[in-house]
Protein backbone atom coordinates (compact mmCIF):
# COMPACT_ATOMS: atom_id res chain seq x y z
CA UNK A 1 0.00 0.00 0.00
CA UNK A 2 2.71 2.43 1.05
CA UNK A 3 4.80 1.40 -1.93
CA UNK A 4 1.85 2.03 -4.26
CA UNK A 5 1.26 5.49 -2.81
CA UNK A 6 4.94 6.26 -3.21
CA UNK A 7 4.90 5.04 -6.77
CA UNK A 8 1.94 7.23 -7.69
CA UNK A 9 3.71 10.28 -6.18
CA UNK A 10 6.96 9.35 -7.95
CA UNK A 11 5.18 9.19 -11.31
CA UNK A 12 3.65 12.61 -10.73
CA UNK A 13 6.97 14.04 -9.53
CA UNK A 14 8.73 12.65 -12.59
CA UNK A 15 6.48 14.81 -14.75
CA UNK A 16 7.70 17.88 -12.86
CA UNK A 17 5.04 18.13 -10.16
CA UNK A 18 6.84 19.87 -7.27
CA UNK A 19 3.92 19.28 -4.92
CA UNK A 20 4.08 15.53 -5.44
CA UNK A 21 7.81 15.52 -4.85
CA UNK A 22 7.58 17.51 -1.62
CA UNK A 23 4.79 15.20 -0.41
CA UNK A 24 6.89 12.16 -1.27
CA UNK A 25 9.96 13.51 0.48
CA UNK A 26 8.01 14.61 3.54
CA UNK A 27 6.68 11.07 3.93
CA UNK A 28 10.23 9.75 4.24
CA UNK A 29 11.96 12.71 5.87
CA UNK A 30 11.74 11.40 9.41
CA UNK A 31 13.21 8.02 8.41
CA UNK A 32 16.05 9.70 6.52
CA UNK A 33 16.84 12.22 9.25
CA UNK A 34 16.93 9.57 11.96
CA UNK A 35 19.25 7.41 9.86
CA UNK A 36 21.60 10.33 9.27
CA UNK A 37 21.51 11.24 12.94
CA UNK A 38 22.86 7.79 13.82
CA UNK A 39 25.73 8.30 11.41
CA UNK A 40 26.65 11.91 12.12
CA UNK A 41 25.51 12.21 15.77
CA UNK A 42 24.84 15.85 14.90
CA UNK A 43 21.41 17.36 14.29
CA UNK A 44 22.61 20.23 12.09
CA UNK A 45 24.81 18.08 9.87
CA UNK A 46 21.97 15.56 9.56
CA UNK A 47 19.54 18.26 8.47
CA UNK A 48 22.04 19.59 5.91
CA UNK A 49 22.68 16.12 4.55
CA UNK A 50 18.95 15.44 4.38
CA UNK A 51 18.55 18.61 2.30
CA UNK A 52 21.38 17.58 -0.04
CA UNK A 53 19.76 14.16 -0.36
CA UNK A 54 16.48 15.79 -1.31
CA UNK A 55 18.13 17.76 -4.11
CA UNK A 56 20.02 14.71 -5.34
CA UNK A 57 16.80 12.67 -5.33
CA UNK A 58 15.08 15.46 -7.23
CA UNK A 59 17.79 15.55 -9.89
CA UNK A 60 17.94 11.79 -10.32
CA UNK A 61 14.27 10.93 -9.91
CA UNK A 62 13.92 10.11 -13.61
CA UNK A 63 16.44 7.28 -13.17
CA UNK A 64 14.45 5.68 -10.33
CA UNK A 65 12.90 2.60 -11.83
CA UNK A 66 10.91 1.48 -8.82
CA UNK A 67 12.67 -1.88 -8.50
CA UNK A 68 13.25 -1.24 -4.82
CA UNK A 69 11.62 0.94 -2.18
CA UNK A 70 11.94 4.70 -2.49
CA UNK A 71 13.26 4.84 1.08
CA UNK A 72 16.05 2.37 0.22
CA UNK A 73 17.01 4.46 -2.79
CA UNK A 74 17.02 7.59 -0.65
CA UNK A 75 19.15 5.93 2.04
CA UNK A 76 21.68 4.79 -0.55
CA UNK A 77 22.01 8.34 -1.89
CA UNK A 78 22.37 9.80 1.59
CA UNK A 79 25.01 7.18 2.50
CA UNK A 80 27.06 8.19 -0.55
CA UNK A 81 26.68 11.86 0.32
CA UNK A 82 27.78 11.19 3.89
CA UNK A 83 30.86 9.31 2.67
CA UNK A 84 31.66 12.16 0.25
CA UNK A 85 31.32 14.68 3.07
CA UNK A 86 33.76 12.70 5.23
CA UNK A 87 36.29 12.48 2.39
CA UNK A 88 36.02 16.23 1.89
CA UNK A 89 36.45 16.92 5.60
CA UNK A 90 39.44 14.61 5.79
CA UNK A 91 41.07 16.41 2.88
CA UNK A 92 40.44 19.78 4.49
CA UNK A 93 41.30 18.89 8.07
CA UNK A 94 43.48 15.88 8.64
CA UNK A 95 43.33 16.41 12.39
CA UNK A 96 39.68 15.48 12.27
CA UNK A 97 40.68 11.82 12.21
CA UNK A 98 42.12 12.09 15.67
CA UNK A 99 39.00 13.63 17.16
CA UNK A 100 36.61 11.40 19.08
CA UNK A 101 33.21 11.18 17.49
CA UNK A 102 30.58 12.09 20.06
CA UNK A 103 27.06 13.42 20.20
CA UNK A 104 26.68 17.08 19.27
CA UNK A 105 26.31 19.53 22.14
CA UNK A 106 22.63 20.03 21.38
CA UNK A 107 21.92 16.28 21.36
CA UNK A 108 23.95 15.69 24.53
CA UNK A 109 21.94 18.37 26.27
CA UNK A 110 18.64 16.90 25.11
CA UNK A 111 19.73 13.39 26.13
CA UNK A 112 20.75 14.59 29.61
CA UNK A 113 17.43 16.39 29.99
CA UNK A 114 15.63 13.16 29.22
CA UNK A 115 17.88 11.15 31.51
CA UNK A 116 19.25 9.02 28.70
CA UNK A 117 22.47 7.11 29.12
CA UNK A 118 24.67 5.53 26.49
CA UNK A 119 26.38 2.18 26.67
CA UNK A 120 30.15 1.71 26.31
CA UNK A 121 29.49 -0.29 23.16
CA UNK A 122 27.85 2.79 21.64
CA UNK A 123 30.93 4.88 22.36
CA UNK A 124 33.22 2.18 20.94
CA UNK A 125 30.99 1.73 17.90
CA UNK A 126 31.17 5.41 17.06
CA UNK A 127 34.95 5.29 17.04
CA UNK A 128 34.98 2.67 14.29
CA UNK A 129 35.71 3.70 10.70
CA UNK A 130 32.66 4.81 8.77
CA UNK A 131 32.95 2.09 6.14
CA UNK A 132 32.45 -0.35 9.05
CA UNK A 133 29.83 1.60 11.01
CA UNK A 134 27.51 2.10 8.05
CA UNK A 135 27.05 -1.60 7.15
CA UNK A 136 26.61 -2.59 10.81
CA UNK A 137 23.91 0.03 11.29
CA UNK A 138 22.14 -0.85 8.05
CA UNK A 139 22.24 -4.58 8.71
CA UNK A 140 21.63 -4.81 12.43
CA UNK A 141 19.19 -1.93 12.90
CA UNK A 142 17.45 -1.43 9.58
CA UNK A 143 17.55 -5.09 8.57
CA UNK A 144 18.98 -4.63 5.07
CA UNK A 145 20.63 -7.68 3.54
CA UNK A 146 24.35 -7.77 2.70
CA UNK A 147 23.41 -7.68 -0.96
CA UNK A 148 21.28 -4.54 -0.55
CA UNK A 149 23.98 -2.81 1.49
CA UNK A 150 26.54 -3.75 -1.15
CA UNK A 151 24.39 -2.07 -3.78
CA UNK A 152 23.92 1.00 -1.62
CA UNK A 153 27.62 1.42 -0.95
CA UNK A 154 28.84 0.24 -4.35
CA UNK A 155 30.87 -2.66 -2.93
CA UNK A 156 30.52 -6.48 -3.23
CA UNK A 157 28.24 -8.16 -0.68
CA UNK A 158 31.20 -10.29 0.49
CA UNK A 159 33.04 -7.12 1.47
CA UNK A 160 29.98 -5.91 3.40
CA UNK A 161 29.84 -9.20 5.30
CA UNK A 162 33.51 -9.07 6.17
CA UNK A 163 33.26 -5.42 7.30
CA UNK A 164 30.34 -6.25 9.58
CA UNK A 165 32.27 -9.21 10.97
CA UNK A 166 35.42 -7.11 11.47
CA UNK A 167 33.40 -4.41 13.22
CA UNK A 168 31.72 -6.81 15.60
CA UNK A 169 35.02 -8.53 16.39
CA UNK A 170 36.61 -5.17 17.20
CA UNK A 171 33.68 -4.22 19.43
CA UNK A 172 34.09 -7.48 21.32
CA UNK A 173 37.79 -6.89 21.86
CA UNK A 174 37.43 -3.27 23.01
Amino acid sequence: MEHEQDWSLIKKAQTGDHGAFTQLFQRHYSFLYKYLLKLTLDDEVSADLAQDTMLKCYTNLSSFKGEGKFSTWMISISTRLYMDLLRKQKREKTWLNQLKRTLSRQLSWQARAKGMEWSDVFTDFNQLEDNIRVPILLHHYYGYSYHEIGQMMGIPSGTVKSRVHTGLTRLRKE
Partner: protein, 108 residues
Protein backbone atom coordinates in the same frame (compact mmCIF):
# COMPACT_ATOMS: atom_id res chain seq x y z
CA UNK B 1 30.36 -17.75 23.71
CA UNK B 2 31.53 -15.28 21.06
CA UNK B 3 28.08 -15.19 19.50
CA UNK B 4 26.46 -14.61 22.87
CA UNK B 5 28.74 -11.69 23.53
CA UNK B 6 28.01 -10.28 20.09
CA UNK B 7 24.29 -10.55 20.68
CA UNK B 8 24.57 -8.69 23.97
CA UNK B 9 26.56 -5.94 22.26
CA UNK B 10 24.04 -5.68 19.45
CA UNK B 11 21.17 -5.43 21.89
CA UNK B 12 22.89 -2.58 23.72
CA UNK B 13 23.63 -0.83 20.44
CA UNK B 14 20.06 -1.23 19.21
CA UNK B 15 18.84 0.26 22.47
CA UNK B 16 21.11 3.25 22.00
CA UNK B 17 19.97 3.73 18.40
CA UNK B 18 16.36 3.64 19.60
CA UNK B 19 17.24 6.36 22.10
CA UNK B 20 18.65 8.45 19.27
CA UNK B 21 15.37 7.97 17.37
CA UNK B 22 13.51 9.22 20.44
CA UNK B 23 15.80 12.25 20.61
CA UNK B 24 14.96 13.11 17.02
CA UNK B 25 11.23 12.84 17.86
CA UNK B 26 9.26 13.74 14.73
CA UNK B 27 11.49 15.80 12.51
CA UNK B 28 9.74 17.45 9.60
CA UNK B 29 10.40 19.93 6.89
CA UNK B 30 7.86 22.50 5.73
CA UNK B 31 6.34 22.35 2.25
CA UNK B 32 7.02 26.01 1.57
CA UNK B 33 10.64 25.65 2.61
CA UNK B 34 11.08 22.61 0.36
CA UNK B 35 9.48 24.28 -2.63
CA UNK B 36 11.71 27.33 -2.16
CA UNK B 37 14.79 25.14 -1.99
CA UNK B 38 13.76 23.35 -5.18
CA UNK B 39 13.19 26.64 -7.00
CA UNK B 40 16.58 28.01 -5.96
CA UNK B 41 18.20 24.74 -6.98
CA UNK B 42 16.48 24.76 -10.37
CA UNK B 43 17.66 28.31 -10.98
CA UNK B 44 21.23 27.33 -10.10
CA UNK B 45 21.03 24.31 -12.40
CA UNK B 46 19.79 26.51 -15.23
CA UNK B 47 22.71 28.91 -14.76
CA UNK B 48 25.11 26.00 -14.64
CA UNK B 49 23.65 24.58 -17.85
CA UNK B 50 24.13 27.83 -19.76
CA UNK B 51 27.66 28.19 -18.43
CA UNK B 52 28.53 24.68 -19.59
CA UNK B 53 26.89 25.28 -22.95
CA UNK B 54 29.02 28.39 -23.53
CA UNK B 55 32.18 26.52 -22.51
CA UNK B 56 31.20 23.67 -24.83
CA UNK B 57 30.73 25.98 -27.82
CA UNK B 58 33.97 27.83 -27.17
CA UNK B 59 35.88 24.55 -26.88
CA UNK B 60 34.25 23.25 -30.05
CA UNK B 61 35.14 26.41 -31.98
CA UNK B 62 38.74 26.28 -30.71
CA UNK B 63 39.11 22.62 -31.65
CA UNK B 64 37.55 23.09 -35.05
CA UNK B 65 39.81 26.05 -35.79
CA UNK B 66 42.81 24.03 -34.68
CA UNK B 67 41.86 21.10 -36.92
CA UNK B 68 41.20 23.27 -39.96
CA UNK B 69 44.47 25.17 -39.52
CA UNK B 70 46.48 22.01 -38.93
CA UNK B 71 44.83 20.30 -41.94
CA UNK B 72 45.70 23.21 -44.22
CA UNK B 73 49.05 24.28 -42.77
CA UNK B 74 50.53 21.06 -41.34
CA UNK B 75 48.84 17.85 -42.55
CA UNK B 76 51.35 15.68 -40.67
CA UNK B 77 50.30 17.21 -37.34
CA UNK B 78 46.69 16.62 -38.31
CA UNK B 79 47.37 12.90 -38.97
CA UNK B 80 49.25 12.52 -35.67
CA UNK B 81 46.37 14.11 -33.73
CA UNK B 82 43.86 11.85 -35.50
CA UNK B 83 45.88 8.69 -34.68
CA UNK B 84 46.18 9.76 -31.03
CA UNK B 85 42.42 10.36 -30.92
CA UNK B 86 41.73 6.89 -32.34
CA UNK B 87 43.87 5.33 -29.58
CA UNK B 88 42.80 7.51 -26.65
CA UNK B 89 39.11 7.78 -27.63
CA UNK B 90 38.09 4.17 -26.80
CA UNK B 91 40.04 4.27 -23.52
CA UNK B 92 38.22 7.41 -22.40
CA UNK B 93 34.91 5.89 -23.51
CA UNK B 94 35.61 2.68 -21.52
CA UNK B 95 36.49 4.67 -18.38
CA UNK B 96 33.34 6.78 -18.67
CA UNK B 97 31.08 3.73 -19.17
CA UNK B 98 32.68 2.01 -16.18
CA UNK B 99 32.13 5.07 -13.98
CA UNK B 100 28.54 5.41 -15.15
CA UNK B 101 27.84 1.76 -14.32
CA UNK B 102 29.22 2.22 -10.82
CA UNK B 103 27.01 5.28 -10.24
CA UNK B 104 24.03 3.44 -11.68
CA UNK B 105 24.22 0.78 -8.97
CA UNK B 106 23.54 3.40 -6.32
CA UNK B 107 20.51 4.59 -8.18
CA UNK B 108 19.12 1.03 -8.15
Amino acid sequence: MKQNEEQVHMKKLQQDWKQLDELAENPSVSTIEMKQQLEVYQEKQKQRFYKELIIFFLTAVCMLSFFVISFVQAPLLFIIVEICAIIIGPIVFYVLVKRKKKEGKVLL
